[in-house]
Symmetry: C2
Subunit: 242 residues, 2 copies
């Protein structure tokens, strides 16, 4: 289905890790399903060596769990884990906002303001399309994170945690999220940063993420009470255990 498509990086194992990550985040490999090494190896046209390395990496990213002599399974999204993850995100992105308030120059702030203006314009033009907003929502957060100037923090948030976060957002079609409210909150955060008010920036970022987490929670609670949603097919053979 996905036999060695586009991006060729230096090593096969990196490629596979990338592709597997995307496949899992986008739900092409169902959550809770088993990862069969021979099957995937054949599918991607590589041997089991690089594939195993990729799986080990995914385990580090928290996308799969491995048990010795049994194999790897894609994680099963659930409310508690989501809340736990977003609480961590609160702490980390809150700190990022605080640091950004110290680091960002007038120019940086101006560029971010323009970005938010674009979001506003885009919002006015396309009244309903929430999903496109998703990407720009990320944009703002990623900019703040990078503006923190903390290399370790950047790596943790953008390379290790974001895969799971995106997975949660993607699999729960949070239609209830209000892009205009989010934009207002973004502006408030940016204001605090522009005034170098680290405390306030952190507080606002935390509230912003906390609110998003509550919305996601409601969406997930509604989802479980509903029949299995489309887009989340569970193949009989891959069914989660127990």
């Amino acid at each position: 289905m996905n036999p060695l498509i586009p991006i060729k990086s230096a090593t096969l194992s990196e490629d596979i890790a990338q592709q597997l990550t995307n496949a899992i985040v986008q739900g092409q490999i169902a959550q809770g399903s088993k990862i069969s090494e021979p099957e995937l190896a054949k599918q991607y046209g590589v041997s089991r060596g690089p594939l195993r390395e990729a799986i080990v990496k995914l385990e580090g990213l928290g996308l799969v769990t491995r048990t010795a002599n049994v194999g790897a399974r894609v994680i099963q999204l659930n409310i508690q884990d989501m809340l736990d993850t977003f609480t961590m995100r609160e702490a980390l992105e809150g700190m990022a906002a605080r640091l950004a308030a110290s680091n960002m120059t007038q120019d940086d702030v101006l560029r971010l303001t323009h970005l938010l203006d674009e979001h506003q314009a885009h919002l006015d033009a396309h009244k309903d399309e929430h999903y496109i907003q998703q990407g720009s929502n990320d944009d703002f957060h990623l900019r703040i994170i990078h503006a923190s100037g903390n290399a370790k923090l950047i790596r943790l948030l953008t390379e290790e945690l974001y895969a799971v976060i995106r997975m949660y957002r993607r699999h729960t079609s949070d239609q209830r999220s209000d892009p205009r409210q989010a934009l207002r909150e973004h502006r408030a955060i940016l204001d605090a940063i522009a005034n170098h008010e680290g405390d306030l920036a952190e507080l606002l970022m935390r509230r912003h993420i906390s609110r998003a987490s509550q919305l996601l929670k409601q969406a997930m609670e509604q989802a479980v009470s509903l029949p299995t949603k489309a887009g989340l097919p569970i193949h009989p053979a891959n069914q989660p255990k127990q």
Copy 2:
């Protein structure tokens, strides 16, 4: 030098990862030195397969950096990375303290109080031996972290970050750290938790860690101005590049 010693876990790769982690944290493998797959494989008496998996895991832990077709090197400790790491720790353990303030029962608090009393007694008995205090210092922090009840936070702090943190503490013999002061701060944090004052507990934990980070920074600044310290041997063949 370390050919397959004690702990046998389910899989070779896990063993090796564990042993390599210890060897790096304890400085038996010098920072900045190259990791030779054939050499280590022979040393541990395994083939290169499991060894490579272990190295991939260590890369996830941030203990080594890998470059394609070149190999892995142990990280090189430096002040900036230390500060970045401890800033993250501030955010995360601060949040852990806040959560602990909500979660811990009267009994939990009592048990932790006893632990701190033991530390006090130990301190009174052995006036000077800082290094033993190190372990008990960890104890307190680990207890708080676990008391947070946030599984993701626990995993991140205790399994992914602590190796590097321990490495920083071990390699910079921070004799300037004052165990009694640390103990006082621990008591203050615990007080806040006992009173369910999340805000205060977070604030105090942050200050506590920030202070430790400043002390470490001073120790590292002093260390670099000194000749190569004993316990950090750099073999000619393993010398860091450039």
